[in-house]
């Protein structure tokens, strides 16, 4: 650790590529491997089905005829070895072919493209709420450790992660819309409103772009309850995590050192403690996003929110396998990409990764 030794090392072996670039390349590599793994999982799951897909497609009468069955198997490539079938599947995926819904005969990718922005709008609303509220509650809880405030926040956050999201959705909808009429009802807009011209697919953003204030407030009124419900679980998650993260940081020497410099308590908390606690918290935000996606699949139906979740719900209740596998694949990929972005943010925030 002596001065001369480290200097020598630096002179002898200058790193060929910038550490940040290497960090990004490694993360991209890992993400691509994971996405490939996800395609293997969905492929295997589709082929695990105990029921014969041919029978499902043909219906009972045609399935009774062995010749038609054999023809269909050949047409679908089902007579090929599994590995060949996988590469056909992968080739189709790369061309954007996720199969066709058994129920509606609409290509899965097309439907997902239509409903995706609705879920993104909901997801952004919920993640913003959970990060802001979760971090502040966690910080407060840690700073007031072992006081009544801390106990109350800890208990509430535990209850928050214990409630079934779809039930909270139903209760929230019943109380705030059905009884109190405080928020907008089912759907993304009131039935008599027309959606704003599509630019991003997010009604709140598009209505602002089009300058339709009435549509904007209406869309916001519909967005607020689903986002809050969806955020409840992740608020609990992030509160608990940021509390323990802050408690870890508070013990560190650099916090005592900052106090020993006579800085204002506000500066010590936000410049030193919070900034240090933020790094591990950032990595959990990706995880929280996963819970949000899960929550969306379970809650969107309650709010008649025409997004990915409702699409998945319809697919699941009708056992529409191409739809379920398509949604699983897309959510898996989105989740991996979000975690990749989260890792990048982590890399940019932490100078130990950014600067050599």
């Amino acid at each position: 650790m002596s001065v001369s030794a480290t200097d020598q090392q630096k002179n002898l072996r200058p790193p060929k590529i910038h550490p940040l670039l290497r960090f990004i390349l490694v993360r991209i590599g890992i993400s691509i491997l994971l996405i490939w793994g996800v395609t293997v999982v969905t492929f295997l799951m589709t082929n695990l089905v105990p029921t014969d897909p041919v029978a499902a497609i043909l219906g009972d009468r045609a399935a009774a005829d062995p010749e038609i069955v054999a023809q269909t198997r050949e047409r679908l490539g089902l007579d090929q070895p599994l590995i060949v079938q996988y590469f056909t599947y992968l080739g189709n995926l790369l061309q954007g072919d996720l199969g066709v819904s058994n129920q509606t005969r609409v290509p899965v990718l097309e439907s997902i493209g239509q409903v995706f922005p609705a879920s993104i709008e909901l997801g952004i609303g919920a993640i913003l709420l959970s990060v802001i509220i979760g971090l502040l509650l966690g910080l407060l809880s840690a700073l007031k450790q072992n006081t009544i405030v801390d106990h109350a926040i800890r208990t509430l956050s535990l209850i928050g992660i214990s409630a079934p999201t779809f039930w909270i959705a139903a209760v929230g909808y019943f109380v705030f819309f059905f009884k109190l009429r405080l928020v907008g009802g089912a759907g993304r807009l009131d039935p008599w409103m027309t959606p704003p011209p599509r630019v991003t697919g997010l009604y709140t953003v598009d209505s602002l772009l089009a300058g339709q204030m009435a549509t904007f407030t209406n869309a916001l009124g519909h967005l607020i309850l689903p986002s809050c419900v969806l955020a409840l679980f992740t608020i609990g998650l992030l509160t608990r995590f940021s509390r323990s993260s802050v408690l870890d940081i508070i013990k560190l020497d650099y916090v005592t050192a900052a106090k020993a410099k006579g800085l204002a308590p506000r500066t010590v908390v936000f410049k030193y403690i919070f900034r240090g606690a933020l790094v591990p918290i950032i990595t959990v935000v990706g995880l929280a996003f996963g819970s949000l996606l899960s929550g969306a699949v379970l809650t969107e139906t309650v709010f008649a929110w025409n997004g990915l979740g409702q699409y998945a719900y319809r697919g699941a209740t009708t056992l529409d396998l191409p739809v379920i596998m398509g949604v699983g694949l897309v959510i898996g990929i989105v989740y991996i990409i979000v975690n990749f972005v989260v890792d990048l943010i982590y890399g940019f925030v932490d100078p130990r990764v950014r600067v050599r």
């Binding site: 001065v3 480290t6 005592t256 410099k261 410049k271 030193y272 240090g276 790094v279 100078p351 130990r352």
Partner: protein, 264 residues
């Protein structure tokens, strides 16, 4: 005349229903331009003495007795008033320099934020002073150092930066808590030499806390020996080392290589 005079200092910490006495009737003085060394094993309360002066005793602890700092009583001083002395009049350097700096803030930011807070100087002026003070503590390339981050320095360099941060507001008292323990043997002597220089040049009253009696025998003017929260022996370096009165002091000295203590 002493800058800090500690009299009958007691500190106890309550954990659950247990009350633990960390310091018992500790008394000694710190004088300007002199290094007072406190020796003792871990858990002897030497670090807590330093933290008590800084007003950073642990939560749920009670402090009694007196710490007089140039006429100001520090025991029971409201935390706001204590905070105005910290960093400006009372400074501290910690054991492990690699953990005493925030990994995500630049060196320039971290060694000047208290200067800007206490003296209300501009960012530019603060950086100018930072570069000057880094030069004074012999950090190589001060102009570049201010924009670097802690992980880009070695332990010895970081400890020099920590001293720079400590003296930038021209304090009267410097508490150095085991400043060489976490460092390589090769850089320890340099840090001790720096401490001596700063003490002499700035007329600082230095409290040097260490478990390493060898460190004290090289730089301390006065030595305080502590064991389980009690001061067992106080005295000037020469007489204390050559003719220790207390059994514990003798065992500390005998542990040094090549030390020979004449039998009492």
């Amino acid at each position: 005349m002493s800058v800090i005079s500690i009299r009958d200092l007691n500190l106890s910490v309550t954990t659950g229903s247990e009350e633990k006495h960390i310091l018992r009737d500790v008394s000694f003085d710190l004088e300007a331009g002199k290094i007072t060394g406190v020796a003792g094993a871990s858990g002897s309360g030497k670090t807590q003495t330093g933290l008590a002066i800084m007003g950073l005793s642990p939560d749920r602890s009670t402090l009694s007795g007196s710490i007089d700092f140039a006429g100001t009583e520090l025991v029971g001083l409201p935390s706001k008033k204590h905070n105005r002395l910290r960093g400006r009049q009372l400074a501290m350097v910690f054991q492990d320099p690699s953990s005493a700096f925030h990994p995500m803030l630049s060196i320039g930011d971290q060694i000047t934020d208290h200067l800007r807070h206490h003296r209300k100087v501009s960012k530019k002026e603060a950086l100018r002073q930072a570069i000057r003070i880094l030069g004074q503590t012999k950090v190589p390339h001060p102009e570049e150092a201010v924009s670097k981050y802690p992980h880009q320095f070695s332990g010895g360099q970081l400890q020099r930066i920590a001293f720079a941060s400590a003296i930038i507001c021209e304090p009267k008292v410097l508490i150095a808590d085991e400043p060489t323990t976490a460092l390589d043997v090769t850089v320890q002597a340099g840090i001790l030499r720096l401490l001596r220089e700063l003490c002499d040049d700035l007329n600082l009253a230095v409290l040097l806390v260490t478990h390493d009696f060898g460190v004290l025998s090289s730089v301390a003017d006065t030595i305080v020996v502590m064991e389980s929260g009690l001061v067992v022996e106080t005295g000037d370096r020469e007489p204390l080392i050559t003719a220790p009165q207390h059994e514990y002091t003798r065992s500390l000295i005998e542990s040094l290589p090549g030390a020979e203590v004449s039998p009492r």
